[in-house]
Every structure is written in C-alpha cells, then in structure tokens.
C-alpha cells in the first residue's frame, strides 16, 4: 500500500503573501523610471552600481525557479557528485575576482554589450554574427523557463493545469512591464528586494529539508538508491564533463550577457572584481543547496515507498516489458498526483532488470534508457512535490514569494540582456548601414568612429540615443512574445540542466575564445573569430537535434575544441591588423 496522495497546503494566506511580494516589486520597479534618460542609464544604470547591490543583482538574475528545479533534478539523479559543479563555480568566481581575467579589460572599455567589443576588435560583421548567435542561443535558453516553472507552480499551489499557462503569462508581463520602462535602474532596485525574498526562501527550504530527512537520511538514500554512484564526481560524471564545466563557467562569469552587464554597470573595475569574489560563495550556495534539496526529495520519497514486485513472466525480457507496460499505465498520473513513492520503485526495478539483461539482449538497452528518462522526469518534480507535502501554510507563501522573486528577476534580467544584443548588435548596426564606414581589419568593416578612438560611447552609430532606447524596448516586447510561444511548442531532448547548458554553449565557447584571443593575442583576426563562432555553434546545435544522438559532454567539449581550432586556423591563415581594444603592447 502506498502513502496517501500529496495535497498542497496552499491557502489564502500564502496567496496573499505571494501577491503582496509581487505588488511591492512592481511598484518599486515602476517608480524609478524617471531616472532613465539615455541608453546608458537604461542598459548599465550610468555605471553606478555598488558591491552589495551588484552581488544581489547578479545572483537574483542568475537564480530562478528553473535554476532550483534543474539543480535539484541534477542532485536527485547524480547524488552528491553533482556538488562538484558548485565547487567549480566557486573556483571560477574566485579566479575571475582575484585576477580580473577578461572582466577588467572589458569594464575599462565602457562598452554596453559584449559584441560591441567585437566591432572594435574585428569589425562589424563579427559583431553582427556574434549578436545573432548570442540572441539565438540566449532566446532558446530562456524559451523553456516558463514551461518548467509552470510545473513547479502547479505542484506547490495546486493551480489547475488549464490556468498555469495564464499564470506564467502574467509573470512574464510583470517582468516585461518594469524592465521595458525602467531598464537596468529598475532591475538593480527590484533585484535587491527580490534577492531578500529569494535568500529567505532558500534558507527556509534548506532548513525544511534538513528537518524532514536529515543529512544522514540523504547519505543513506544515495548509498541505497544511487546504483553504486553518487559520491565520486570523477567516476560518475567523467573528466570530460568536469573539464567542460570549468570552461563553461569561465565563459559564463566573463562574457554571458546578463552577467557581463552587471560587470559593465559597476562603479569601476575594482568593484567588479570584488563583486565576483563575494558572489563566488553565493554561486556555491546557488548550486549546492538546491542539489541537496533534490537529494532530500530522493530520501523523502524512498522513505514513503514500498518495493516493487517482479512480475511473473517466462523470460527476463518479457518481465522487463511487463514492468515497462505497467509503468506506461501509471507513470504520468503518478507524477501529476505526486505519488512518486509508487513510480520510483518501479523505475528502479525496470532499470535493475534491464541492466542485468543488457549484455545478452540489445533490446534491454532501450529499457535502460527509458528508465533513465523517467528517473529524470521524477527528479524534476520530486523537489516541488516534497515542498508541497512538507511546508505548512504561511511558510509555503514565503517560500513561493522567494521563488517568484527569483523567477521574475531572472526574466527581467534576461529580457534586458538578450534584447540589448538584438537591438544594439543586430538591428542597430543593420539599420545604420548607411553610416560612413572605413576599411578596418582585413575581412571586416569598421564604422567610422563618432567618438574618440578607444572610446565605446555610442554602440549603434547612425541611431539617436532616443531611437536606441525605443528599439531596445520594442525588442523586449517581441522577445517576451517569442518566449511565450517557444515554451509551448518545444519538447526537451533530455534533462533541463543539459538543455540549458548546451544552448548557452552554442555561443559561449566562441565568445570567450574570441574575446580572450582579441584581448591577449595580437595575431587574432576577424576571419579567426568568424570561424570560431560558426564551428563552435555547430556541435551545440547537433545536441539539440535528438536524432543525431550527440552526448552532452561530447557536444560541449567539441564546441570548445572547434572554436579554438577555428579561431587559431582562421587567424593564422587569414591574418588582419588589430584595430583597437586588442592585445596591443602595454607601457
């Protein structure tokens, strides 16, 4: 007999707390619009951001409900080995914070977007190419946020499925309203308030997990149900995966647009460096704490489970097929009703029987894969179902306020980040094609500078400041509409964690390679940068097409290898003279 179905304790009090937090956020976000006069106010808040507000803004942008869900899913599936990613994040933040690697040079240039650097260094064509790939990958990345977060809200609030889409649309519109009007100024202020909610929610959930299952229960669950894995990251995740994570996090902390915009918004480069040192520990918590929630959910549901019985059948493969057929009948309903203690033992039984038969029967491999997919699906919803089952009314509302704050701040930050690239680096340069240009580096045209050499004050020459501001606002609206549509039509090829990292990797590898090469290698050329972007994007795109069956670590590492290879080969074969912002000799 299984445990009773979970019914969320969500009450009017919880709804009131959550709605009040949203009203406060929007009110504050809209009040600061009078401070926005120029595109520089709008995108980087006149570069007046301090250390603590910067840290809050950076974290609340990079933490949403989806972050907590995929991190918890990763912890549920990989156990404590997943924590290695958190340690990598900390190490990278400390490295960037201590050395100022890339960020100091970019901050000193006073640019608004990363592709803006490419125009000065390589020419306008590279800026537009980078802009297109960044906007494409970034939008795809953001595109699955609403649909995954909708599942979280449906579970913890008990909102009927038919209203969840409307709830998500309302959240997107809230973020859209104050971002489009107040830009970065609104973001910095609302991010601060949202961070307070978010941090409180994170601490509450962590304490609840510890109270419910305890650390010992989490360790025991991974030992018993991790299939002999879950502690040694090198054995479980592989050196290739870890190496890729190191590279990816270096890129994320230096050239990921929403992170880079925080660097560009700081008062000076020194504040930027300190911000990364401080946020390193917050990023450690951003990874390890929700991963621990996933492990706690594993322990919680196994604690309520009863072992699944092997069905009577004449052959092993027939028994496997019967377990699979039984799961097909009940799995989706169990997920929707939170009866994970019934689904989990059956999935484990399917996995165990299929693995035992795999050496003898190729058909069994298909069932191993199915069991793994189902385990991932359970992992995505286990944490929200555990919260729905354990949090009392009142605390549930506080937790939800924190989660909504996390989500809206992420939407707002990403809307501004990606629309800045679309408006400033794709549409702007294309609209101002009539602006006078001079031959720059071979293989690229550079716009005639409207400002003194070395300065980056005007991102889109030919467009007035007001036109740039309007263009960015219109782009934010268009991006919001795209996100709503994409989240409804796309089906994930694997765990959300991998999808998000691969869509990011689509442009992260070539962007970092082209930025580092441009800053520190005198022979870097426009052709090399273009090769890096095209080749680096190809393998990530291959992962997104399920029929090609490219593994996540393979796609990630190949993307880096091809980006570096293409950059070096292109720069050596088609050299060009650096224009400005390059690896010129320092006095």
């Amino acid at each position: 007999m299984s445990a009773p179905a979970i019914g969320p304790a969500f009450s009017t009090l919880d709804a009131a707390i959550a709605v009040l937090s949203l009203v406060v956020t929007v009110w504050i976000g809209l009040r600061v619009k009078r401070y926005v006069g120029t595109i520089e106010d709008y995108l980087v808040a006149s570069r007046g951001m301090g250390l603590y507000v910067g840290a809050a803004s950076l974290l609340s942008t990079e933490v949403g409900i989806i972050t907590y869900m995929y991190q918890a899913q990763f912890g549920f599936v990989a156990g404590f080995s997943a924590f290695a990613v958190g340690l990598i994040t900390l190490a990278v933040c400390l490295l960037v914070g201590r050395t100022g690697f890339v960020i100091t040079r970019l901050r000193e240039m006073e640019i608004l977007t990363v592709p803006q650097y490419f125009e000065k260094r390589y020419g306008r064509s590279v800026r537009v190419l980078a802009g297109v790939l960044m906007a494409f990958g970034g939008s795809l990345n953001l595109g699955i946020f609403p649909i995954i977060e909708a599942r979280f809200l449906a579970v913890v609030t008990g909102i009927p499925a038919r209203y969840v889409g409307w709830t998500m649309a309302a959240l997107l519109l809230i973020a859209l309203a104050y971002t489009a009007i107040g830009g970065m100024v609104s973001l910095i202020v609302t991010n601060y308030v949202q961070y307070v909610f978010l941090a409180a929610g994170t601490v509450i959930v962590t304490l609840v997990c510890l109270r419910e299952v305890g650390w010992g229960g989490m360790v025991a669950a991974v030992e018993s149900h991790g299939g002999g894995q879950g502690f040694d990251p090198i054995a479980d995740l592989g050196v290739g995966f870890i190496f890729w994570q190191v590279l990816l996090w270096i890129a994320l902390m230096t050239v990921w647009q929403s992170v880079a915009m925080r660097t560009f918004s700081t008062r000076d480069a020194a504040v930027g460096k300190r911000m990364f040192t401080l946020t390193g520990f917050l990023f450690l918590g951003r990874a390890i704490l929700p991963m621990a929630w996933g492990i706690a959910a594993l322990a919680f549901f196994w604690g309520r489970a009863t072992p699944a019985v092997v069905p009577p059948a004449p052959t092993p493969i027939a028994r496997i097929a019967q377990v699979d057929a039984r799961l097909a009948l009940t799995f989706s309903r169990d997920l929707d009703e939170g009866r994970l203690e019934r689904a989990l033992p059956q999935v484990e039984l399917l996995d165990r029987l299929a693995r035992a038969e795999e050496p003898r029967s190729p058909e069994a491999a298909r069932f191993v894969e199915k069991a793994s997919e189902r385990r991932g699906e359970i992992g995505l919803l286990a944490m929200p179902w555990m919260l729905a089952a354990t949090l009392p009314s009142g605390l549930l509302g506080l937790m939800l306020a924190g989660m909504l704050a996390a989500s809206i701040s992420t939407y707002a930050g990403y809307f501004l980040g990606w629309s800045a690239i679309i408006a400033q680096d794709i549409v702007g340069p294309l609209l101002s094609r009539g602006a006078p240009v001079v031959s720059g580096a071979e293989g690229g045209l550079v716009s005639e500078p409207a400002v003194p050499p070395g300065s980056f004050a005007l991102p889109s020459p030919g467009l007035s400041n007001r036109a740039q501001l309007r263009l960015t606002q219109v782009t934010i609206v268009a991006l919001t509409l795209f996100i709503m549509v994409w989240s409804l039509v796309y089906h994930l090829p694997g765990p959300a964690f991998f999808y998000l990292q691969v869509t990011a990797n689509l442009f992260m590898a070539p962007t970092l390679v082209a930025v580092v090469g441009g800053l520190y290698w005198r022979r870097a050329s426009a052709a090399g940068a273009a090769f890096a972007f095209v080749l680096g994007a190809l393998t990530s795109l291959a992962y997104l097409v399920p029929s090609l069956r490219v593994g996540v670590a393979t796609a990630g590492n190949l993307s880096w290898a091809l980006a570096v290879g293409g950059f070096v080969a292109g720069s050596v074969l088609v050299p060009s003279r650096p224009v400005t912002g390059g690896a010129e000799k320092r006095p």
């Binding site: 009078r34 401070y35 507000v53 360790v219 520990f281 917050l282």
Partner: protein, 49 residues
C-alpha cells in the same frame, strides 16, 4: 577523508556562506541603493540644465 565527509563540509560552507553574505547584502544594500539614486538624480539634473 571520505567523499561523504567532504560533501558534508561543502554543504556546511555553502549554507553558512550563503546565509551570512545574504544578510550582509540585505543590510549594506540599502545604503548603496540610496547612493545610486543620488548619483542618478544629479546626472538627471545636469542633463536638464
């Protein structure tokens, strides 16, 4: 040191650091927001002139 102990230490560091730094941000952030508003207001007046 076993892996289990190592992950326990990592978890404790992550939780304590997250809580303490968040508290620091909540307290020190208000003053920074005020400074930002003052700077933006000065900039707005300068442009209006």
């Amino acid at each position: 040191m076993t892996w289990a102990l190592f992950w326990l230490a990592s978890f404790v560091v992550a939780f304590v650091a997250f809580s303490v730094i968040s508290l620091l941000i909540a307290v020190r952030g208000i003053a920074e927001i005020r400074e930002l508003f003052v700077a933006l207001e000065l900039e707005r007046r300068r442009r209006a002139r």
